[in-house]
């Protein structure tokens, strides 16, 4: 008897096409549509006030530890945060496609920005940037090993940034799909267990909402930390 394992679990991560038209562009451009630019009225409506206050508070918060040279990055970091959090949260709606589950997109965010922080550091203050490779207070015998380790950790950063975001979101989506198909299946067979799985699913959805927001924040936060080291 031949056992066929059909991996239909990863179907949700395939790039969507409709009649040959790639829909990825629409999924990626969705945050642009959802955030209208501030109107030129004196008193704005509720949603605009909420949007503005979120963006301004976030910008203030993220720029707090950065010194003046890094304030040029304010717009970029804020836009990145808003974009990532919207993409993540939109992916939790049914039938939608989450572009941030695709590794190339996240690497496209991570690698250029990380490289920019490194190059800025090496260009403006090369001694200090290289000095980051050896933390203060290391015992003398450990120095060669530690430099190698710190260099490796420096080069792993973009991969860590990208893969962290991808893995968190993809794992969450996968769990949701598995739990929901388990619940649907169990309703026929043993419905008390289906109630249990449904409960786990509800909790997981709450977790996913949190993860979506948190992961976006962590991405931007780490990037700002790398920037802080290098300016």
């Amino acid at each position: 008897m031949v056992l066929t394992l059909i991996l239909g679990l990863f179907d949700q991560f395939f790039s969507p096409y409709f009649l040959g038209v790639p829909l990825l562009a629409i999924a990626i451009a969705a945050p642009w549509v959802l955030f209208p630019k501030p109107s030129n009225r004196v008193i704005n409506g509720r949603s605009l006030v909420a949007q503005n206050s979120f963006v301004l508070n976030f910008a203030k918060q993220i720029l707090l530890p950065l010194n003046v040279g890094a304030h040029k990055w304010a717009l970029l970091l804020t836009v990145l945060m808003v974009n990532l959090i919207t993409l993540n949260l939109l992916g939790l709606l049914p039938y939608t496609f989450t572009p941030t589950t695709q590794l190339p997109l996240n690497m496209g965010f991570a690698i250029p920005l990380w490289l920019a922080t490194v190059v800025i550091g090496l260009r403006n203050q090369p001694t200090i940037a290289l000095g980051h490779l050896l933390p203060e207070g290391t015992p003398a015998p450990l120095i060669p090993v530690l430099i190698i380790i710190e260099t490796i950790s420096l080069f792993v950063r973009p991969f860590a940034l990208g893969v962290r975001l991808t893995a968190n979101l993809a794992a969450g989506h996968l769990l949701i799909q598995l739990l929901s198909s388990a619940t649907l299946f169990l309703i026929d067979q043993m419905w008390p267990v289906a109630i249990l799985t449904g409960l786990v699913m509800a909790l997981l959805t709450l977790l996913e909402l949190a993860v979506a927001a948190i992961q976006a924040y962590v991405f931007v936060l780490l990037l700002s930390l790398y920037l802080q080291e290098n300016t």
Binding site: I6, G8, D11, F14, P16, F18, L23, A30, V33, L34, P36, S39, R41, I43, N44, G45, R46, S47, L48, L90, L93, P94, Y95, T96, F97
Partner: protein
């Protein structure tokens, strides 16, 4: 009945009679600028009606998200239809 006759093409969509729809669509501005401007005008009409209001509620955003969900379902139907209630997936 005392108003002057307005050419069909310039009427707003809600005032076009059913029989005149063909003429109306044919007379619209299909240049790229025209299409982009009509999309932008529609976007701003939606914004001004539902979002840039003093006490805009959750409905303004929810309608957009619901439309997005429905559209995504339509787009992914061809892929999903293989998962219908069947014994062997």
């Amino acid at each position: 009945m005392a108003d002057r006759a307005v050419p069909v093409v310039e009427k707003r969509l809600m005032e076009v009679k059913l029989g005149e729809i063909g003429t109306w669509v044919g007379g619209r501005d299909f240049t790229p600028n025209g299409m982009i401007s009509s999309v932008r005008k529609g976007y701003e009409r939606y914004l001004n009606k539902y979002i840039h209001v003093k006490k805009g509620g959750i409905g303004g955003l929810s309608m957009v998200l619901a439309g997005y969900v429905v559209l995504s379902y339509v787009w992914s139907f061809d892929h999903i239809k293989h998962d219908r209630m069947r014994k062997y997936h």
